[in-house]
Amino acid sequence: MRRRLRRAWLVVGVASALAGCTTYGDRMAPVEAAVEEGDPRRAVELLDADSGGAGDRVVDLLNRGALLRMAGEFEASNRALEEAYDAIAEVDPLSVSESVGSLMVGETAFAYAGEPHERVLLHLLMAFNYLELGDPDAARVEALRVDLRLQRLAAEQGRSAYRHDPFARYLSGLIFEHLGEPDQALVAYRQAYQAYREQGGRLGVAVPRSLQLDLLRLADQLGLDDERDEWQAAFGLESWPAPEAHRAQAHVVVITGVGLGPRKREQGFAVQDRQGRIHSVALPYYEPRRRPLGGVQLSAGEASVPAEPVHDVDAVARILLEEQQGVLAARALGRLLVQKEMIDQAREASPVAGLAMNVFTLVADRADTRTWGMLPAQYYMARVALPPGEHRLELVYQGLGGQPLTRVDLGTLELEAGTYHFVFDRWVSARAGSLTPREAP
């Protein structure tokens, strides 16, 4: 009877404690709802009003930076992202106290230091912001910083499917071309091509046609005839823009982020052993999200080109978590042994203390659901070469059946020959439409 009563108390204690304990995903739910309603400014306020502790500083800053970018506050966004960059450097070394804490209370004891792809995307978002602010030299700094990051990524993630980032290389190449550095651009395009080819199958993004054309054109321009012939044979393309024709036209690069990054949730199970101890294992997983978008089309007067997928953030995040599951499960099992010992020692003092310790371990051991959720699920890029002059651009987001979901007037651009123009957009859902603030036409 006493044993049954004790078990009942334990179940009640666990249930009530778990009900009162929120995960990072729960904390971000209202923020995400505000974004889905098309109000990123409100989302920033909600995030600021309920920011996490020191261990969540990096993830809060990353989300803040992405939200401010959505709201069109590019300088403030870069300040938040630069702070996140510094904070990552601070928490990157392994913490002794956090490691000890993680043995008792799980992965959330570790300060969040960003997933490998998030550390790369941080620089890309900053580069986007600098390009929006008309500061291509500062965007170039981000291209160089991303190169350093990618060198470390290749060394640290040698066995991962995500050991290169093709989109980061491709964007770097475009920034170099924008600044009139074709030799640097060619190096970046080559690396992008290799990375797309290597990862395309697993990460769901093929080598973009625009990158193939860039490689052929630049090899031509720099007089690398053998290399150009190799590219031609590899791509099966018969024609590409001649360098002179390229110089005579203006080049528009439209990059749009669609949807929201995957939402991390917790899944777990609890078992009771013969001694009455309850053990639980909680692991994170990414909740499946519906992809409502069939494609994106850019039109500029008569010209209309499809945007190509260039980065699948959602797929990269899922694969990285999948790769970590073995380590996370092994650490969870190690934690069970430590927790069992803690419960037994408390029991020796008194049964009530044992019970309390068991409740504590169950409540404290939660899956780490922190993630940079305010990133888009995918990035699309559209390239169009136009004659110098005024051009009005429109972006059409299409549903799975090809029907238009959202039409976005990107405004009128005054284009000069031989120049690059970067235009950005952010689309979350058909309901919210484009979140990017634009001046009325």
Binding site: P93, D137, L148, Q151
Partner: protein, 199 residues
């Protein structure tokens, strides 16, 4: 006994609070404080001092004074940041201007943005200032040379060690005939080791 424990606890709490306190200390301008290994105010100042000392010690200055019989007038053009980090080139340009002006060997004219603002003020004077105090348009001092430059970097990294190499290139170009009369460069190399563990 209880009182002793209480006392020790209070002492511990005070010590902890003192340890966590935020503090500000004024430090000497010349004292070396390189916290992160990134480009800092001291790098900017030292590079500016050394490069301008080198520039003023070269034949172009003597040649100009001998041929023209006056001090050359210099303007600072673009100093591009081509490095791996966001460097505030404006403070570097300010350091260079200060060194040049304080040398007393060259005249210095305002840059393009400042000139626009000064012209706006002259236009305003044309309407509102008395004739005796009004400054006339078209009397500006034209520069003889433009100082251009860039900050480049190469970073070599292995594990938690990084060698950061900065190269600052400056050149003085004659506005009359595009001749480059002086080219200088200064290199800085730093070894940065980041911690592999923290408390």
């Amino acid at each position: 006994m209880k009182a002793r424990i209480r006392g020790a606890l209070v002492l511990l709490a005070v010590a902890a609070l003192v340890g966590c306190g935020h503090s500000v200390e004024r430090i000497d301008r010349d004292a070396e404080h390189d916290l992160s290994g990134r480009w800092n105010d001291q790098d900017s100042r030292l590079v500016a001092e050394e490069m301008i000392a080198d520039a003023l010690d070269r034949p172009w200055l003597r040649d100009f004074r001998r041929e023209e019989g006056k001090r050359p007038t210099v303007i600072v053009g673009d100093v591009r940041n081509l490095s791996h980090e966001h460097i505030n080139t404006r403070t570097f340009v300010n350091d260079i201007q200060r060194e040049l002006i304080n040398s007393g060997q060259v005249d210095f004219v305002a840059d393009a943005d400042q000139r626009e603002r000064i012209r706006e003020e002259r236009r305003d004077q044309d309407l509102h200032a008395s004739e005796e105090t009004r400054q006339a348009m078209g009397e500006e001092l034209g520069a003889d040379y433009m100082l251009l430059g860039s900050v480049n970097s190469i970073i070599d990294q292995e594990g938690r060690r990084q060698v950061r190499y900065y190269q600052v290139d400056m050149e003085l170009v004659s506005l009359a005939d595009n001749r480059k009369v002086w080219i200088g460069n200064k290199e800085i190399r730093k070894l940065v080791r980041s911690a592999s563990a923290r408390p």
